[in-house]
Subunit: 112 residues, 2 copies
DNA sequence: CTGTATCCTTGTCGATACTG
DNA sequence: CAGTATCGACAAGGATACAG
């Protein structure tokens, strides 16, 4: 374990954290795990996220190879986002995160 | 799924992402998963992380209930950090992240 | 419908120096 | 040993407006 940047591509945690930096990445990946989604539909499911922000986050995930963007040459345009192969493998992480997240929420409630 | 802030404490992914925002949180949790660690030892294992930053990240994790800080009244002072109960439950997530992270690293290598 | 272009605010991180 | 204080730099996100 040495430098964060040097360790990208070496340490699984450094690498994971880098890919998951986006504030909405988990939520986006979760929605894509249910199947391909169009841009507009995704935005509808993620209120309080502007078009600009959603676009940036999707571009980042696409650049990281997590997400596949498929464009249908139509008018009006149609673009579908889906999980890539490595993205699909991430579903296991999502599942464990979902379980843990709910446990954490319970923990917070008890603490109140 | 509505607002990020409103959903903290409701949606497991929103909640998880909030807890894991820290740039070093995964790495710190990983090291603590091996057992209690003193401040200095932790810093030694995490080069390229200044004392100030490590201190802030630990404070954040402690505030979130992920980490327990135990202070021994000695001279020189000794402080041990360890995983809390909910922190221990996070180990499952760490394990799946480790597996996935390594798969992702392989994926990147193949892409080159 | 699916974006992009700007601009601005905010938060986070790191560097450095200092302390009980 | 285990921090804190301060400061500056930078990146990420959000608001708004516009475009193909």
């Amino acid at each position: 374990m040495e430098d964060r940047n040097e360790l990208f591509g070496i340490c699984p945690f450094v690498t994971s954290q880098k890919v998951l930096t986006g504030k909405w990445s988990l939520l986006i990946m979760y929605h894509l795990s249910k199947g391909p989604v169009r841009f507009n539909e995704l935005q509808r499911r993620l209120p309080n996220l502007t078009q600009a922000t959603l676009s940036k986050q999707l571009k980042a995930l696409e650049a990281d190879g997590m997400v596949i963007r498929k464009e249908y040459p139509q008018i009006p345009p149609k673009v579908e986002y889906s999980m890539s192969e490595i993205g699909h493998k991430f579903k296991i992480v999502l599942e464990s995160l979902e379980v843990w997240g709910n446990e954490y929420i319970e923990y917070i409630e008890r603490k109140k």
